[in-house]
């Protein structure tokens, strides 16, 4: 069966520090991968999605970037964090058209 892993679960980082969040999927090949951010008590905002290695689409301009170095690995990064980058970050995957997403357990990022 397919599983999705996200780490770390929580992270406290100072303003101006770099960020790297990792997401990996097991049990499937060539998944579509997604990064979402969720502010406290709010909805889900799509940040990036990827349909293959090295293919990244950005949904909103921001201080973040994403990379997909391997088929089942999706990384969210920042060179210098801002206070506004705080939030709950969720990775998700799906198998293509007409299928729902499976979400990871999320990373709670607090920028101080």
């Amino acid at each position: 069966s397919q599983t999705i892993h996200q780490w770390p679960a929580t992270l406290v980082q100072p303003v101006g520090s770099p960020l790297s969040l990792e997401c990996t999927v097991e049990g499937t090949s060539n998944p579509n991968l997604y990064w979402y951010r969720q502010a406290a008590g709010r909805g889900l905002q799509l940040l990036f999605y990827s349909v293959g290695i090295g293919q990244i689409s950005s949904e909103v301009p921001q201080n973040l970037s994403a990379s997909r170095p391997q088929d089942r690995q999706f990384i969210l990064s920042s060179k210098k964090l801002l206070l506004s980058d705080s939030g709950f970050y969720l990775c998700a995957w799906n198998g293509g058209l007409g299928y729902g997403y499976t979400f990871g357990s999320g990373t709670r990022l607090t920028v101080v």
Partner: protein, 112 residues
Amino acid sequence: GESVGLHLPTLSVQEGDNSIINCAYSNSASDYFIWYKQESGKGPQFIIDIRSNMDKRQGQRVTVLLNKTVKHLSLQIAATQPGDSAVYFCAESRHNTDKLIFGTGTRLQVFP
């Protein structure tokens, strides 16, 4: 579009009652719909889905109704339990795209 900046509406129900959570979608070309449940601090979990060639689908204690005429989706939870307390998101998949568009979300509070 995404309503990620809005506070979540809340539905309060008494334990044992039935709950109905509603969602409106805007694109008549959407042909796949999903309901997710998100508990505090966790990633969204799949509850039930429905395709546009159906108007009703039932799961365990949950029913999804789709009214394509008025572009409305609802989730009915029978005999609501405290463990049903969570935020519920609807999502739509538009024809020929593998991206899900999420609704605002509704917070369900179950009281004894």
